[in-house]
Amino acid sequence: MIVSILTAALVVAGISSALALVISLIDLVVNNYGEVRIDINDGKKNLTVKGGAPLLGTLGENGIFIPSSCGGRATCGVCKVKVLSDVGPHLPTELPFMSQKEIADNIRLSCQIKLKADIRISIPDELFAIERYRARVEKITPVTYDTEHITLALLEPSHMTYQAGQFAQLAIPPYEDVKGETIRAYSFASPPSSADKVEFIIRYVPGGLATTYVHRHLTEGQELAVIGPMGEFGLHEGHADMICIAGGSGLAPIRSILIDMHEKGIAKNSIWFFFGAVAGRDLYAVDEFHALEKAWPIFHFVPALSAPAESDKWEGETGLITQVTEKYMKEKMDAAVPKEAYLCGSPGMIDASIKVLRAGGVPDDRIYYDKFS
């Protein structure tokens, strides 16, 4: 009896371990891609790396930073690169971010391509300028109950050259249950003139890995790595009425652009900044922009609350930021002057704003936006 029970257990265990052994052996052989060569921009840079990992992370480890805001989860679609060699068909995870033309040109999401063989890629030359900066957290200022304004002093390299409206990635170190570095992108809130100190506005997202770290664990004086600059959002030239619409932490790039314009004396016919929040407790930077309004005659600042609380004693504009924008476009702006718009905030806010702007006669190619997703 005992013997037969033992044999039964041993046989099942034996067969299972034999199969497990076969699987591990095959895994060793099949998933060993050895050393892989990456040829960037026709030999401008050659890397020899260990294969098997995604292209985005492998490039990052070797000092080449492809812009990405989600950090390799195939949700932002920013880390596109042109692949010149054959790496197989587009994955279902890539297709939602690709136009027909991009598919034909073999533009790929670098976070989804596993390095299996030598590969040739082409990236814009300016990406070589992206570097990883060591920085020290100089100041953390809570601006609302859930939003912090963070100033980082760059240590090594000590200066960053960036354009107003661009963004950088913060490399959040491992903490608590989060293993490995978490990479998330945030727009600069500071103007490019502040090359040794960069500022970000970070709103707490419940459950967000990076924002939880920033709000709960980040302390003044500690070091944090910044990778940048990245992105193409920024000011466009030309005589026009400039309409800026932002919600929540979307104020950051608009702040960078406006301060930069004011510092450099770049003029537009008029500049309108519509800043939307739900109630008084979500509003910040109001005094700063009202002060800018006084010092700069062409600039107008319009904060608006969609659902002001009793205690706010709100006397400013009330309503969704899109309704307020629509009203001002009709009543305060000259329809004869061409318009351009800069939007930054949640995808919902941006889509709603685009509709209003279109109806108000702003051409699609003059609506520039940066979606936070």
Binding site: V11, V30, G88
Partner: protein, 197 residues
């Protein structure tokens, strides 16, 4: 003793007269859910052919060389399932390496085959009917092809039906089940002509 049936006859039997899907109704879940797309149906069908062929002969070997000589027949259900899971895992790794295009085509369906009851069903039929090695192999291949044939034909029919004026209450799963019933009856015609077990 293996039954005296030619393995070649078994191959065609498995495809037509005792089709695993349409006469035994095994593997219905993926049959209904995947058949709304012809391309995925084809991919899943091919994966089933591959896995069924390999697991039927592999399980026959383990059954006859290890379990039966040691009098451990009662363990066969556990062992069969482990072997199927391991086979699918190995296939997945190998296909990813040697043919990324096929791997892409099969997608999520390859790992899902682990829990496809048609695979285990065929292995158990082979065991219960005491088929010989060649019979087991051809019965496995035939059943796989039969499963592929059934799902691809259903997908092809559904393309037509999608454009037809189906009453609102029957749209989707309703009409699909009716189609499967009609297909099963048509295949029953085959088994009426020749009866092989």
């Amino acid at each position: 003793m293996p039954p005296p049936i030619s393995p070649v006859v078994l191959l065609f039997t498995a495809i037509f007269t005792s089709n695993v899907l349409l006469s035994n109704f095994l593997g219905m879940c993926s049959f209904i859910s995947v058949s709304n797309n012809l391309k995925s149906s084809h991919g899943l069908g091919l994966a089933v052919v591959l896995v069924m062929t390999i697991t039927s002969i592999l399980n026959w070997t383990i059954d006859h060389l290890i379990l039966q000589p040691m009098g451990l027949d009662y363990l066969n259900l556990i062992v069969f399932i482990i072997v199927i899971a391991a086979t699918v895992q190995i296939l997945e790794m190998v296909i990813e390496r040697i043919s990324p295009a096929l791997y892409m085509g099969l997608g999520i369906f390859l790992p899902l085959i682990t829990v496809n009851c048609a695979i285990l069903g065929i292995v158990l039929f082979i065991n219960i009917r005491s088929y010989g090695p060649l019979q087991a192999l051809l019965f496995g291949i035939g059943s796989g092809i039969g499963w592929w044939l059934a799902i691809v034909s259903l997908a092809a029919i559904r393309i037509k039906v999608d454009k037809a004026p189906v009453p609102a209450g029957l749209k989707g799963p309703g009409i699909t089940l009716i189609i499967i019933g009609l297909m099963a009856m048509a295949f029953m015609g085959f088994s009426g002509m020749v009866s092989v077990q």
